[in-house]
Symmetry: none
């Protein structure tokens, strides 16, 4: 089932508020096989609302609106939609008494300006809204159906989950949009696409989407409008084929964080992890300590931003830095070995590079990053040239630091 | 000037990604008096793109699209829009050579699958995209104008600011929505509101908005639809009055980052800064090293996550940890003094706390964080109880660590 979503509110268009309701609605509705075919965000003027909701009804015959149900002057959604359906607004004492009670409970007398919130288009179903004052409204007619929800996130989400989704689920006949996401890192989108070309055609009826991000490319397999029981085995076997092709670069699924995956693998080996960070300046540690329970595995380490800290805290030889430079294979090797020795960790990673915008040279341009990996006493180094801004380079470097250990655990 | 924004990508509708580009576009365009009259989010199918962009052109005659310019199969925006304008796609060697060079710079050979990114609709203006591969495109014709931008946030934003906004500003006739943002931290929204009540009425015609976030509350003053020359003095004097009331908690304006403000103040004193992080696990270092040029001031420090690291790397006494606990005034004082001594920094901050979800107790509930500030040899400690999730607590703690030094510089 395809529907239209119309979000009403000038602040959304001005960008003063980020629209998180839409993403929530998309995810929640997909789980019951309902797809948002189009989302339209408009100003809260009667003309805009009339055209947008009217067009959406023609397109999908089922429209969910958010916003414009409050008591203030610019809250006109209900009136406009009622007009569209030729349904007069009727004052309902029951709703008014409930509103009065709600206000009384917080020790206030309800202003008459709120009376309009007790008005309901004739024939509309009232969706109780315990989280707020304005109830949701479900209006059906020859044009189709319009479900009006408040714009306040907690109220909109509550009504969607409690009142809208169950009713739509009943219609979807158990069909849903089921997805499975494979997470990859340290492999470019185009390389993935080339490698996966061999399977892409065989995936039908599943679709494969490439979602590139700073930490890597996510691959989302989706089964559209199927019974979950039928979709699962298709997704599973497709995921297996893809994982085989992607190999070690495919580190997880869904929301898996490489830091969490790595911590779990180290925990299983009863190993400890330490870091020595120069250009990432604490980012690798932050990624690891974002994960609850990381303290069982992650010991900590040294933010060796200044060369003196590399020397004093990590035992890097001043001669090495003088002869090879702070961004060099020799230095990163001594950093990794040094932090492993200082902390007694079985696994350690060191990062030193040029994040920019300044500090680059022909020999070592901005984006040059050296990684040192100490695993069970064996130290290896890798050099990468990372693209993008300072933030991009640092983010990619932190991710690769985690990946380098992950790969070496075999 | 009113325009239409069309965001293209099935991701957005499924809710797998939250649409932050739209808010950025809304804010950025408002600054030059350009308003997004309507935003339409659609799937990346040729039919949907054709209808949505077509309708938008009829409505506004000026359309910005985001997404669908990548190298993969589902990137079809350029082709569809070119068709709408009856402009054939032409392969441009110059663009291809640039793409090839970009890939070469990061030591890779560009795959032929990217050749489509060098195709340009005849007559389109090419908008160089240093942050990514696909350039933006600006196509004009009898239907109106369509500006095609990539969906990747950093690329979309860069092109909008560098290529689109300047050209639109020239058309806006000088009226704009002008805002000025004051950044505050370590002071609750309600306290701010009480203190600012005295000035709020006198701000007219400016509006004041409270924007609470993890790092503090931003105060946005806005002049609506005025000539910037008229708005500026109003905003300036209002900002001055508010800064006076807010005091030291108001650390900056606009996009000022407390880390950058702090680094500048330390640089002016020729002081160095070091950190000793337990529960923040590298976040403070990351905040500081996010700032270009931070290496002149920030030495680095120790991620003292495990107690052994507190002892070995910072010289915290095992007895202190045993008697008072790792989260205590005594421990945080020894951490701050220890990292200052080890690095020779004039300013140092130490953080130790319980970020949760586990590890809390009645005496030290989750959210308990101790801060140690060493400034010119004088060590002080503060205890806070921070609300929210693990991520909230860590984010607030990192911000307060920076603020504690900022405040002590007098």
């Amino acid at each position: 089932m395809d529907i239209d979503l119309v979000t009403i509110g000038t602040e959304l268009l001005l960008g003063f508020t980020v629209d998180t309701n839409s993403a929530f609605a998309g995810r929640t509705l997909a789980e019951v096989g309902v797809r948002i075919a189009r989302r339209t965000s408009i100003r809260d003027t009667p003309e805009e609302i009339r055209t947008a909701v009217g067009d959406a009804l023609v397109r999908s015959r089922f429209v969910i609106t958010t916003g414009g149900l409050g008591p203030t002057r610019d809250d006109v959604t209900k009136k406009v939609v009622a007009d569209l359906f030729g349904a007069p607004l009727e004052f309902q004492d029951a709703i008014w008494e409930e509103l009065t009670a709600k206000w009384a409970r917080i020790g206030r007398k309800i202003p008459d300006s709120n009376r309009c919130q007790a008005e309901v288009p004739r024939g509309a179903m009232v969706l109780p809204n315990p989280r707020g004052t304005a109830p949701g409204l479900w209006l059906s007619g020859p044009l189709g159906e319009v479900v009006m929800l408040p714009g306040v996130p907690s109220e909109m989400r509550g009504l969607l989950v409690d009142q809208v989704v169950p009713r739509l689920a009943a219609r979807s006949g158990g069909r849903a949009i089921v997805s499975r996401v494979l997470r990859t890192t340290a492999i470019p989108e185009s390389t993935l696409a080339t490698r996966l070309a061999q399977v892409e055609d065989s995936l039908d009826p599943l679709t494969l989407a490439y979602l590139p991000g700073l930490e890597g490319v996510d691959l989302r397999l989706t089964a559209w409008d199927m019974a979950p029981a039928d979709a699962e085995p298709l997704l599973r076997s497709a995921a297996e084929r893809i994982r085989e092709i992607v190999g070690v670069n495919g580190y997880g699924e869904g929301d898996d964080d490489l830091a969490a995956v790595l911590l779990d693998r180290l925990r299983a080996k009863r190993w400890k992890l330490a870091v020595a960070e120069s250009c990432t300046g604490g980012m690798v540690g932050q990624r690891l300590t974002d994960i609850p329970g990381s303290s069982e595995v992650f010991l900590g380490g040294v933010i060796a931003y200044h060369d003196n800290v590399k020397v004093r805290q990590l035992g890097v030889s001043p001669l090495t830095i003088e002869r090879r430079g702070a961004v060099s294979e020799e230095t990163v090797r001594e950093m990794a070995a040094g932090v492993a020795a200082a902390t007694g960790a079985e696994a350690a990673v060191a990062v030193t590079g040029i994040a920019g915008p300044g500090g680059g040279s022909d020999a070592k341009p901005v984006g040059t990053v050296w990684f040192g990996f100490s695993v069970a006493g064996r130290v290896e180094a890798e050099r990468l040239g990372l693209p993008g801004t300072r933030a991009d380079i640092r983010g990619r470097a932190a991710q690769y630091a985690l990946f380098g250990i992950h790969r070496r655990l075999g």
